[in-house]
Assembly symmetry: C3
Homo-oligomer: 268 residues x 3
């Protein structure tokens, strides 16, 4: 067993033992599914976005998810309040820049959250991550239009320049802090046919980060867990509906040993 596989198994066991509270300020589309993904995996999700509540809530939490889908200025303000408090308290922040590059509101918001809070990991598709760099690209809504390999070089540089860890997901996932870089295999072709699978990956990265302080290992093991669960859920699934329900089942039942046996993390 590789040391990454061992870490993945260890993290999953700790997650289920400690059931960390994960505070999500996320979009309306995926709130329900994200909460179910976190519960299935063993974490304790809470969704709270009131500006006059988020500081208290994040203080109770082990990690904070900031997800800019269905964003408005009011929600951005609450994200900044929560993010600043989390930064002050040393709680890991995981940012999901949904649709960055598609509209100014989203691109600016993602950059502002990066600048004004201590984001530990950014989880996005290649287009969204590249948009953070100010690269001259237009994303098509919230879907990925660039491949992971295309984004890999840019990601290393960008991680270094932003001083954060980037988790770029696609057919192969890439996690890098600018120094280390890990590739993770897994998942299933039905995943992009279900809304919120990317957001769920983000939430799982946060859950793993709540119990693993290393952002690269937390992100890689969280994504590996999601990928292995996705493979198992997709096996024989007749379509995306059945797949998304089975995914909750497999996130719940997959054991640390099974994860260790099947997870495929390697150095880039």
């Amino acid at each position: 067993m590789s040391r990454y596989a061992a870490r993945a198994a260890e993290n999953l066991a700790r997650l289920r033992a400690e059931k960390p509270l994960v505070h999500n300020i996320t979009n309306f589309v995926v709130m329900n599914y994200t909460a179910n993904v976190l519960l299935a995996a063993g974490a304790s999700p809470v969704m709270a976005h009131a500006d006059n509540e988020v500081e208290e809530m994040v203080a109770l939490a082990g990690a904070l998810v900031l997800n800019i889908g269905t964003l408005t200025d009011t929600w951005l303000a609450a994200m900044l309040t929560a993010g600043r408090k989390a930064s002050e308290l040393g709680r890991p922040i995981v940012l999901d820049p949904v649709g960055a590059g598609a509209t100014r509101l989203r691109t600016d918001a993602a950059r502002r959250l990066l600048a004004e809070t201590r984001v530990s990991v950014v989880r996005g598709n290649a287009s969204e991550i590249l948009a953070l760099a100010g690269a001259d690209i237009k994303t098509k809504g919230v879907d990925a239009t660039r491949s992971v390999p295309e984004a890999a070089a840019a990601a290393r540089d960008l991680a270094r320049s932003l001083g954060t860890t980037l988790a770029v997901t696609g057919k192969t996932d890439l996690v890098t802090d600018g120094e280390r870089a890990l590739l993770i295999e897994g998942g299933h072709p039905l995943m992009p046919a279900v809304t919120g699978t990317g957001c769920s990956a983000t939430a799982l990265v946060a859950a793993f980060h709540a119990i693993d302080p290393d952002p690269v290992l937390a992100a890689a093991t969280g994504l590996a867990f999601f990928g292995v669960a996705g493979e198992a859920a997709g096996d024989g699934a007749p379509g995306p509906g059945t797949f998304m329900i089975r995914l909750l089942d497999t996130l719940h039942t997959l054991t640390p040993d099974e994860l260790a046996a099947r997870c495929r993390i390697r150095e880039a």
Copy 2:
């Protein structure tokens, strides 16, 4: 058959015959699942939270659900407007104090709704209910950290002092108005692994209350129905995803006779 089992069966039959409109001002996480639970059971759900609409909507409804998950001041204001109108019209109000005790916003909101509207039933877990009493406890996000037995004595006193009916759910559910106290068995270990099962219980209590004016019997029979459906749904379910889907199926197909045969309500 006990008179409670008979009442449960009668209420379920009436619910399906009358299809009462249940007006929900509830949280973003559970809106979809709550609506599906109410539809599956036989009620007509509507979600509406605009301050300039809720009075008109609640006047059309048989019951009002106020659920403070994902609360903001704007939503609280709409809840107060709707709650006052419902009080004036004699529509039963069922309050779900999601996360009361976890943050000031939620604790204060729950107490204010209790003080300023005629809440007929409060449905929560033991921690949330105890938080209404001002007991010196901190809840862990929105999860229960106290057991039902621990909360039972406090619940009777609290129901009396608040002048409302309390429905405290956990492994065993307790319903009390301070005088009468009923215990309800049922449910399944997978229930806490699905988000919104507590909120769904609240919504079903409201649906039963729309056709049964007795708050203790409405709450007890609504919870018994949910518990029996949960048991049936959980039987052989491979995980929380399949469970939550089967639960909608069983809420839809369970007959009044089956409910009467399996429901376990007893006096405390």
Copy 3:
């Protein structure tokens, strides 16, 4: 094969090839399911409602959905902003007047969206559509209380007077622009037991309209697709939970040929 069946098959094939972006400003209850329905069918959904983002987003989209469930004045303002931009750019707008007739807010909002933007298709149940006419009716929440045949004559006249296409759904669906009128059979008795099936029909009409400029044919073929998928999903389904998941599966796997063979569109 009728020319309508051929058009349905052609539209489905184009939808899957072109994957048009469908911009939804819709209600909280159905956002997740609507996004999953669009993804399953082959479209690219995006949900965005910030007043300072919607013009940019709708410019990227092939069609715009305006759905007034869970409406507030703020959301209505964003719908008007997006709708005016879409009108200017010639993007088809599909309006879902959820609950029109039930409250003043909703009735007025639906009429204002019709008056101030170029709505291409209105998809609603008979009660909601009739409410647009100012007919003296009260809808029961968001459920249909009038049958399609009752609404048919009024629909033709109303379509002509409003200068839009009306898609009135029920046991039999009716699509008319005042001149042409088509009837569509399909669906399953479990559909009304799942929240958001009407809203999903609306979203599919928008997706089909993004690749078919004829509003009558886009609406009729989109509804026929949904109806055929619903029939297949309902076959043997034990209840509404399983049904709603299978519906996503069938929307994903149904082929254009199967659609052509099973779709039942005829002239009224």
